[in-house]
Symmetry: C2
């Protein structure tokens, strides 16, 4: 039996119309300039998005060509977010923090034909431009287009010059909601970046989730400070969600240091903000030395990495601002789970929930899979790899099979943890870092944290190393604090109080510093290589 | 270019799994029994929904057969809400307040094969049963099945007996999100009721909208009191939304009088509640005489008819509970608009927004169409018929063409009003009641309200009557207060202060009482008939 309901597509066009129409006069995009802010109403954003669409048509973007952006969070980036998908083309947000060879790879792999580049990023972009095989037009935003010397065959345009004189309305086409709207590559450390192609449908549904009270609760009353970059998992969905409900959005442009962020908060009075833990750590530290009024924030959302509970407690106790932990990944649009404690939970028990990765909403189905492929119960104890599926979860990578990541309709997240009966996810490790010892799993992250509790230890990294009897056993690489001295046996005794006996590491080594990735995470791949190459001086305890 | 996102269907099955899984232990359906409450965890609801699905399979519901419900709001009705659509069949909520001949029409038109009937409604249902041509099974809920004497060929079952011993898990099928999930007939006063068939997709999207902060803001922390019947526009979407996010739901069963409602609120401490204005009027009146603690309510939602601002103000000023006005219809699932004032609006101006029908969200596109078919601007003044479209708006009626209601992909709502530039809808009349005078529209409702402001007037009804010069002119039918006397000229002078000169009615009549429909609204159709039959004694002012 057929339903009688309309077949109305879920589309970014509706988000654009809603934001720039009824919310056009009241809501604004506010871009920090270093000294202060420039403001643009959503009505103007809508008109300029129409002009941009006309301009892009003029540059030959007539179908689903990819339009790249190499930009900070600012008003013009928001215009591209709206115009490109709504005209039927595909927005490709280039992550400026990738290594240059990765950036060249992704722009060529996505076949970007036009790239919008912030003037301040032109020097960085210029070095790669000669290697971009499909780019025909570069549009320089917020600066002098003449400053960019382009190779033969590539035209350079100024953004404002391109928009000037274009009509401020555009006949937005009716689009299939499953068509491509935007793409974003993950910054994999072990292989080439992988592309995720969001659809109009997935972005629309994800925007609704962001605005749900148990999501980020975004509403027309909000002023959202989008610190998380628009080139990183679509700024966690804030730009589209803000347009959908008419929340104003505050964009820090390139001013991501604690000092300007704090000033921006005091001046522009955001009601919510989203960023990774390191940003908030810097903000807190700065606030301690240089107090500002941050009381406008009803809450801040933190994700992208596990957030230390101490950071959450400081924020709440000193400034009265709840820090809401969330989990997600590029492959999940990204909102996967949000850590709001269940109603009725009080006192210290609240922190068990708030420190977790959060509860998975109806839109994100999850299961835990153990070593042998068996599906594990949600008992808060059984540890397995998290797999997810749902309407805003990717089913594959763009032009890249990667059968390792997908099976039976599920995405393997590469995260390992457990889920409580009430649906709260607690991640304990990355799948590739977990140590598989005699059929049991040992979390490298938990061991690292316990070792780092020792006063002589500055940093500790744990990797699995081959072991004849147990298949794998943990190796601990310790960086001592300056002037401290301690031996492995003492460290193991220190662990014995809080770690199960069978998990106690026998392999230890001391290293002068911990190898790290470009984003400051422990580079365990390199440590494994050093171990394989025999570069580490390993002690084996009896 | 294809998106890489999963093609995961939006379905009631996901809502059922989310509610009965992670929220299964914490959230409950609470059903009022007259004396107190009975409680059932969502986990139990999920198990019993599986049992019901097995039982219905046993009764031959193997495909998209219609399963009717003739029930109050209670736990068993919720089980049917979940089991019937999730198993792939279609839930048909029979409106017990329709006239018996209308009920017979809709059950036959929908071809209901099984009907679940509350034991307390068996006497009412029995009178119609002999005329139901497609019903093969009747399931009596919460009472003695033997009390129902069924005609030859119809089997009668007890609900609990049917569920007993069935497996508590069901292999829910994967469903096309556009397939039929539930149907509801409108209670049209002018013709046969019309069926709206909701899809899994429309119900899922509508549930997200209910949980959006600018919607009804439903969250896991809520205890929602669903006063609006589950047979009336799906109880405004509360049951599905509650399961989606794990809010508890409180069901009044048949106890819809002010006294039990107030006791229920004091005992069960709902955080929000939804009902039509007359319910809240009764509650307020009862509270004045018999105070109870209603402070648990964070807000109440009112819709289904325009809510007098005085009611909203009393609720807020005496009890500190905001009343949120909402607009919708069976054809719109029903959530069409919600009247939350924009951020920054303060003082008396708040009431301009709160008394409106509210703001249309991204999911409900709207336009105003004038007499000649022209689309009118959103300027807060141009009055036209409201037309809407969107993913939870119906495109047609089930098995009933009605080309009058649908054109160019839009639903004609039959409501007349204007929309402000910031997207707030203000309805002034029903399209069929508006008076079309010399190309201009006169709101019958506004005239009625102005006439009723006169101290001698108890009630006033306004209809359009044929006029040679102006095509139509207003006729006012006045019911005087006991013992009062006033002549038409005086009433017209009274209006002259607040009504434009060209709108001042020249046709007046006095009637002993106002004809009303079964739900207590002015029956203008009957008044028009009386006028056409020459039954009214009309005065024409010069």
């Amino acid at each position: 039996m057929l339903s009688t309901m309309q077949d109305a597509p879920l589309s970014i066009t509706r988000i654009l119309e809603q934001g720039s129409g009824p919310h056009g006069a009241s809501a604004q995009v506010i871009t920090w300039t270093g000294e202060g802010s420039r403001r643009r109403s959503y009505a103007d954003v809508g008109r300029r998005a129409a002009q941009l669409a006309h301009a892009l048509r003029g540059l030959g973007v007539t179908g689903d060509q990819r339009v790249g952006t190499f930009m900070w969070n600012n008003a013009e980036h928001l215009e591209a977010y709206l115009a490109v998908p709504a005209m039927g083309a595909v927005l490709h947000t280039l992550n400026i923090r990738l290594f240059p060879e990765q950036l060249v790879y992704v722009a060529n792999h996505a076949e970007d034909e036009v790239v919008l580049v912030d003037a301040t990023l032109v020097p960085l972009f210029s070095t790669m431009l000669p290697e971009l095989r499909t780019v025909r037009h570069v549009v320089v935003v917020g600066g002098d287009a003449a400053a960019l010397e382009a190779p033969q065959g590539i035209e350079v345009h100024g953004y404002e010059e391109l928009l000037a004189g274009q009509p401020t309305e555009f006949p937005w086409p009716e689009l299939d909601e499953r068509s491509a709207a935007a793409m974003c590559y993950t910054s994999g450390t072990t292989a080439n970046p992988k592309g995720v192609v969001y659809s109009h449908r997935s972005i629309y549904l994800h925007s609704m989730q962001v605005c749900m009270t148990d999501g980020m609760a975004l509403s027309q009353a909000d002023r959202a400070l989008a610190i998380v970059p628009m080139f990183h998992a679509m700024s966690w969905g804030l730009p589209y969600a803000a347009l959908m409900v008419g929340a104003s959005i505050i964009m820090p442009d390139r001013f991501l240091q604690p000092e300007p962020l704090v000033r921006m908060i005091a001046d522009e009075r955001p009601t919510m903000a989203a960023a990774v833990p390191t940003i908030w750590q810097g903000v807190l530290k700065h606030l301690a030395d240089d107090p500002h009024d941050v009381s406008s924030l009803r809450e801040v959302v933190v994700g992208g990495a596990a957030c230390p509970p101490s950071l959450m407690k400081t924020f709440e106790q000193q400034y009265g601002i709840p820090v809401v932990h969330a989990w997600g990944m590029t492959e999940t649009s990204p909102l996967g789970s949000v850590a709001r404690p269940p109603a009725g939970v009080t006192g210290e028990r609240v922190w068990e929930y708030r420190a977790s990765q959060g509860r998975l909403p109806a839109g994100v189905q999850a299961r835990l899979v153990g070593d042998g492929g068996q599906v594990l119960p949600w008992d808060g104890q059984s540890v397995g790899e998290l797999e997810v599926r749902g309407p805003w979860v990717t089913a594959s990578y763009y032009g890249d099979a990667d059968p390792e990541k997908f099976h039976d309709g599920w995405l393997r997240t590469g995260d390992v943890g457990h889920i409580s009966p009430d649906g709260f996810l607690r991640l304990t490790d990355r799948a590739k870092d977990v140590i598989k010892s005699g059929g049991e799993w040992i979390s490298s992250v938990e061991l690292e944290n316990k070792v780092m509790d020792h006063p002589a230890v500055a940093e500790a990294m744990v990797i699995g190393v081959p072991d004849e009897k147990w298949s794998e056993r943990p190796l601990v690489a310790v960086v001592l604090r300056d002037g401290e001295q301690v031996d492995p046996a003492e460290l193991r005794d220190f662990l014995a109080g809080s770690v199960a006996k069978w998990q106690l590491p026998e392999y230890w080594t001391f290293i002068p510093e911990a190898p790290k990735t470009s984003v400051g995470k422990f580079d365990k791949k390199r440590l494994r290589q050093q171990h394989a190459d025999g570069e580490l001086d390993v002690t084996r305890l009896g």
